[in-house]
């Protein structure tokens, strides 16, 4: 394995435990924040702030309990703080909706995690053309409009293709795990 950070001879150390928990659940935490604050500009900042708070308050987490849910709580409060600050400039969800979404994600937490492995598999099944489009659209360095003009296409046609690709991915994931069911 790479490097020595996870190698330990002695008692579990706080930082090692934190990094182990954090790395394992970072995708879920990022997903959680993206869902309750749909504006992508804010998600990174909230993720950074929430992660620091998780580290500072790590002593409040009881080893053996569900780290993901604890992290979700911290992320929720951090996000709500942020929402309060930006709500004049953006479309934001109400506190009620945030609570509802948070509770749903907690309930379906394990299921959502399982779907992530299916996601990775489904991405490999995509046509190369579709994968290239995703790479271009989701790359950090350009907006979709810029990307579209580079390909000599209208933004709308790119959006249409993106929507279709995401639907294909969802279908593929659902073929393994089914829909996210209200009864579970």
């Amino acid at each position: 394995m790479l490097g020595g950070i996870f190698v330990s001879d002695s008692q579990p150390d706080d930082h090692e435990r934190f990094v182990a928990h954090f790395v394992r659940h970072q995708s879920s935490i990022y997903s959680f924040i993206s869902t309750i604050v749909p504006n992508s500009m804010d998600v990174d900042e909230i993720m950074q702030d929430a992660s620091l708070v998780m580290w500072k308050k790590f002593s409040q987490y009881s080893e053996g309990t569900n780290f993901r849910n604890w992290a979700f709580q911290v992320a929720k409060f951090t996000a709500m703080n942020h929402i309060r600050k930006v709500k004049r400039d953006r479309h934001v969800f109400t506190t009620q909706l945030v609570e509802l979404l948070a509770s749903d994600m907690e309930t379906h937490g394990t299921e959502l995690e399982a779907r992530r492995s299916a996601f990775r598999l489904c991405v490999t099944k995509l046509k190369e053309n579709d994968r290239d489009l995703l790479a271009g659209c989701y790359s950090e360095n350009q907006s979709i409009k810029q990307f579209a003009s580079r390909l000599d296409r209208t933004p709308n046609s790119v959006y249409k293709q993106l929507n279709r690709i995401r639907r294909d991915l969802l279908t593929c994931i659902r073929s393994v795990h089914g829909n996210l069911s209200p009864t579970s």
Partner: protein
Amino acid sequence: MNENSPSSQRIGQLIDRLINDQLTANEFAELANELEHNRSARLLYIETLGLHADLQHNFRHHGDEAIKSVTDELGSLIEQDDAPGKRFPRTDRQSDLHDAGQESNAWSNSGIFTFIAVSVPTVFSIVLAAIIIWFIRSHDWQQSMAGFGMPPTARLSIADLEEIDSAKTAVAVMMKDVDAQWKSNQPKLRIGQSISPGVMELASGLVQIDFFCGATMILEGPAKFEIKDANTGFVHNGKLRVFVPERAKGFTVVSKQCEVIDLGTEFAMDVKANDDAEIHVLDGKVWVKDLVQTEDEKQLLTGGNAVRFDNVDRAKAIKTETGFFVGPAELNRRATQSQSSGFAKWQQTLDELKQDPDLLVLYSFQESSEWDRILANSRPQAGGIGDGAIVGCQWATGRWKTKRALEFSSASHRVRINVPGRHNAMTLCSWVNLDSIDRDMALTHPETEQSNFIHWTVDSNNTGSIASLHLAVSDTVDGVKIREHYNSGSACITSEDVGRWIHVATTYDPDAKRVTHYKNGIKVGSKPISRLQMVSLGMADIGNWPYKPWSEGTEFQIRNLRGSMDELSAFSRALTAEEIQRIYEAGKPEE
């Protein structure tokens, strides 16, 4: 909710538009309203946004499959066993990366961020970097890398949390230092220290700096380098060699004459005091732009080529000279050399100390066998007197790779010694590396059934951020026990010292009638002696307190040293400040 019902189609459409940033205010209100009242709509939304987040996660590295697969492997390894502290076997991951066209082996071993960079997306790197930085600061980095065994953890104090806060502005971290001498106008940058944008001036020596973007730079003094941001640096003068992995493509170094944008993987620059600049590409390719003759087209320079900019020539092709620029292998070699010279210097000092007629005990902690349970007194002709009996402590690495130390990590660990003899004066010196300073700790603690003894301890103020040195001298007069306390005063040992090797010393001077405490060769406190008496070590424990039943449940019960010790000496005279400073200078490890 029926998948194909008009309302679910509408929801799906609105969600798509939300993700694509196409929603109008009315549409947003419609979607939010539907989500609030319809659980199925919410679940569809969560499913879709989750997919969108995973896509962002996945493709932010420009679809680099090799990096993704490493993340997966890390993730699955952790999933296999969630028990903290599990030992992960080292495999030849570096060579797998090499086959995938990634970093070369030499550089992989030299940067901690190779690990973080390949397994964690950029935005999280800042957070983990802050944590790793704290981790590095509280342990000797070179020591850790050498042995892959981490010393027991240090406790997080207020100062450390502030460091994490300030790490938010940091864009790089100091990784290695070989005989670096910094210009006097700036504080010395320590290994593990996070670096924010700004200027650094190296008078001589070598440093390795890891940028959070993933690039690694070796800077050789004399040099003046300015970090502009996580991806850009400005070299006023000096020699540097930069490794830029795939994910840090675009890393730029600017000088007065020209600008170099690296497209991967390795280049070097030499800028003289008169601004003349040479660029050598060791591997991969870079863009070179003339900043003086700005109308010139930027040039692509590939591996094995070099150019020179000066008052006569612009981008003149010259011969590459890779040996001229210190790379990671050479850096490591020099680091090892400088390390072993420190150890050699220390051994010499020890020989000098052994000649001191007032030497009582000298524990050099250089026992050769793991099984050694005797800590030998190196005083010549001691004949075994003063030898210590090791109880529980484990042998570990001391100030240098070749130096041994004893690790004290539990309430049962101690070294029992017996140094008979009463003296008018005394000096105690030790090199210790403390894991924390949140409790009182015994350096030497006597068997208190004796009539004359001393306590030498580190006293904590219980916040974990400051501690003092303390000498207590006890005597029995007409059957009555008397004890005098001499404390160095607060803020003598701080959280900055935790996890580092420090030298502590205390002198009992009957002529000056003073007890003086020193840390790292500098006086940190001094108290007048109110009542002169004889002092002795006698029967005592190093690193612990001979347990007494009455102490159970009181604050006195636990006073064991938590940390390592790799030298302890006692003299029957009070050493001068100069002598103590010389001992410190001769024994201090390279930072």
